[in-house]
Symmetry: C2
Subunit: 250 residues, 2 copies
């Protein structure tokens, strides 16, 4: 479908069409489109920008990734569809392992997403073989890679389901989420929640990773001073502000 560059929502429409195309290719699940829509709504209420509190959360997430001994970035269909290049670049910068982990898991879909990441330059992408099992979650959603999520101490989970976020926290890992919904279970349960749009958040985290590589003191300060409850409260407040101002149309 041809989208007029004049359309006031041109960029959103282009992303939507691309996500639809990735559904046809089997990378994004159909219900992933629904999740994408939810994110669009929350992002609109954020004002489609990185808030001050999200910027701070991004720096803190970067600090955690650098402090980690075994950092892992999980990637599902939506994250791959929206931000494959950015996530792979961030993984190389830390460095961190990348593991493909899907809500609607099937060998075919895992293969599609892993291959897609490899086609974007991903090396040693985990996901095809998942031999370990997380506790406290339905078995079809519990499988993960031994040398990935299972052995990780810090996990970055973009666009993840609440059940899995909770299971990772219970398993004793430090959980860094990227989630536009400040009310979601994922947001509430994670240790650091970046309430920002994925393609804004990921490059921002990478920039700080590069800045803080040799600054252990600043990393520790960021981690010590971070308060996720306050971060979520400020994110919700930012959305409220937007609701009070009459929009020009979405």
């Amino acid at each position: 479908m041809e989208i007029s560059r004049d359309h006031p929502r041109y960029r959103s429409l282009v992303v939507r069409e691309r996500m639809s195309e990735l559904v046809r290719q089997g990378v994004v699940a159909p219900t992933g489109l629904i999740a994408h829509g939810r994110g669009e709504a929350f992002d609109y209420m954020l004002g489609e920008r990185t808030t001050g509190t999200a910027a701070n959360a991004e720096k803190t997430a970067a600090a955690w990734l650098l402090e980690a001994r075994r950092p892992v970035i999980t990637v599902n269909g939506n994250a791959a569809g929206l931000c494959a290049d950015g996530l792979l670049s961030l993984a190389r910068a830390v460095p961190a392992r990348v593991e493909v982990n899907l809500f609607h898991r099937s060998p075919e879909r895992v293969e599609k997403v892993v291959s897609y990441l490899e086609s974007r330059g991903g090396k040693d992408v985990l996901g095809r073989v998942q031999s370990s099992r997380l506790e406290g979650i339905a078995s079809d959603r519990a499988m993960c890679c031994t040398e990935g999520i299972y052995e990780a101490d810090v996990v970055l989970i973009p666009l993840e389901d609440g059940d899995r976020a909770g299971a990772l926290v219970k398993a004793g890992k430090t959980v860094l989420a990227i989630d536009l919904n400040p009310l979601s279970r994922t947001s509430l349960e994670s240790h650091v929640t970046v309430v920002d749009e994925l393609t804004r958040a990921v490059p921002s985290i990478e920039r700080t990773v590069l800045e803080l590589k040799d600054d252990a003191e600043e990393r520790k300060r960021l981690i010590a001073e971070f308060d996720n409850a306050e971060n979520l409260r400020l994110s919700r407040e930012a959305m409220c502000l937007r609701l009070k101002v009459q929009g020009s149309g979405f």
Copy 2:
């Protein structure tokens, strides 16, 4: 995919899977799933209930449909997927013509949606033949049925795009929208905006249609006293309230 009845979001998940299935059947467009997700987010912030102001808007929409000489209800893929039976029942109650009108129009998709409505008992459903053109909108989105939208004086437009809502208003019609986003162009441009979830709104409008059939005085009162700007403001306020109260997770 089997969804556990224990999952805290069981009902939402069932609807999402059904919408995904209707995409596979060609009734719902893939980008329609994204729109559905946006609605989910806004509905969550409404508290997934009919607010007082939405209830009043529903009554006012019913009054307008009864006052109309040529009322028409437009149906797109999402509206059909979510609420075909309810919309057909409302149309019979008024009575109003039903016209299928799609954002992603193709003869195949129009046929799918019209056939779907017919399979749910729809009679004289318009949409296969669109000979008239609305002004002020890109030509592929301007086509409509002569004896439907084109000649209508009052149009109920569930889940409609802002461009088309605006074109209908410019064409001099009274536009009644059902839209969960109180900031959208559709919401701002329509004369009556029902900020409520479709499957709650439609039966509510039908109930009032049956109640007000013989009460011209009450219909006129509702119409005279309705203030859409105030209605939208109260809807935004309801969402703000929800953001301020920490959710148990979405």
